[in-house]
Amino acid sequence: MHAFAYERPATLAEALALMQAHGSAARLLAGGTDLIIRLRDGSARPSVVIDVKRIPELDPGIRVDAGRLVIGARTVMTDIAADAHVRRHFLALAEAASVVGSVQIRNRATLAGNICNASPAADTAPPLLVYDATVVAAGPDGTRRIPIDAFFVRSGVTTLVPGEIVTAIELPVPDGPLGAAHQRRTRRRGHDLASVTLSVAIGGSGTTRLAYGSVGPRPVLHVDGSGVLADASATAEAKARVFEAAFADASPSPRSMRAGPDYRLAMLRVLGARAVATALDRLAGE
């Protein structure tokens, strides 16, 4: 690994000042499960690494505040997967957090880091999209709230501006019944990057939010207001038509080693049907 300077700010203000001072020469270090790999293979060559793990404002706690679940930027996947609030209100996010990497990875990897990397295969992106999450970012000019659908641009690129630091991710606690599920497809059991990820959330009003990743430059959200996916008695043909529209934005890369485009497109439909069935079951049990 190349040599770099290490900074461990003790406050958010200090971290923001370091980001101002070093600009694009600095990289933020949260869990490190992606950054350390990139430092070693040379695809990231910062001269300064800023470790955000001791910043109290990025508190690793998960709390409910004014109708929103607030997940501090330092919160790791293990804690999200096990959290009682998350399991009760945001089960698809708990399911996604519990399949990221291995136990060792989940004990370090943060939700904030996962979305800031903006990998199209990020497991946590589809649930955050279906739950309509907001990214809270602190910058030199104050705090901004970015809707998650306006956050992802393409692999490794988000709408954060230079100097900004994600401090928390917020999810509105649903005000009515909601059934949700997360599905993924990997090459092998155990620990692997996903070839397809997909989440759905079906509300009591009949609106279905469906999001998927790993089939294009960024994860995609589709909102179905037709009521077809939410209708347990709708025919498979009717559902297939909605899926066609929902998956119109999928454009899997032909160059991926993990799975070919035809396979991914076929699996989207399979995972979509499974996730909808599970979400409907859960909605009925609410």
Binding site: F4, Y6, L29
Partner: protein
């Protein structure tokens, strides 16, 4: 110029301090600076788990963190499992069940299993498989390793029962 940073941590119950390079991983410092070569270096990308140690009670890949990040932490490595020269019951079970072939992956497997049993003393087979999913074994001793973990949990449960706990 390489920045070095003083760190203080607890390793296998003993306070240790070191001057570490900012860009050195915990794995490198354990092996090269502290002489604890039980923790193995293999893929260096968080895929194989050969470098697994327990940091503040949680298993982590030591190749995926900087040593400075462990400043103030409590680290348990495979060298910390035996007491008075006697293997821990879990380590002994790995030997008894034939889970150790070439042995290269075993320190990592044992540390993952140790962390699993600390959090889940009575795991199901599925929980053992999931708990060890981040540890690869190229000799493919998976069955024997799962048996070793399950039998350790069973023996501990039987001993608890005997003692009326």
């Amino acid at each position: 110029m390489t920045q070095t940073i003083p760190i203080a941590l607890t390793v296998n119950g003993r306070p240790r301090s070191a001057e570490v390079a900012a860009h050195h991983t915990l794995l490198e410092v354990l092996r090269d600076d502290l002489g604890l070569t039980g923790t193995k270096e293999c893929c260096l990308v968080g895929e194989c788990g050969a470098c697994t140690v327990i940091l503040d009670g949680r298993s982590v890949d030591s190749c995926l963190m900087l040593a400075v990040e462990a400043d103030g932490a409590d680290v348990l490595t495979v060298e910390g499992l035996a007491t008075d020269g006697r293997l821990s019951p879990l380590q002994q079970a790995f030997l008894d069940k034939g889970g150790v072939q070439c042995g290269f992956c075993i320190p990592g497997q044992v540390m993952s299993a140790h962390a699993l049993l600390a959090h889940t003393p009575h795991p199901t087979r599925a929980e053992v498989e999931e708990g060890l999913a981040g540890n690869l074994c190229r000799c493919a001793c998976y069955e024997q390793i799962f048996e070793a973990v399950l039998s350790t949990a069973e023996a501990a449960a039987a001993a608890d029962e005997e003692a009326g706990r």
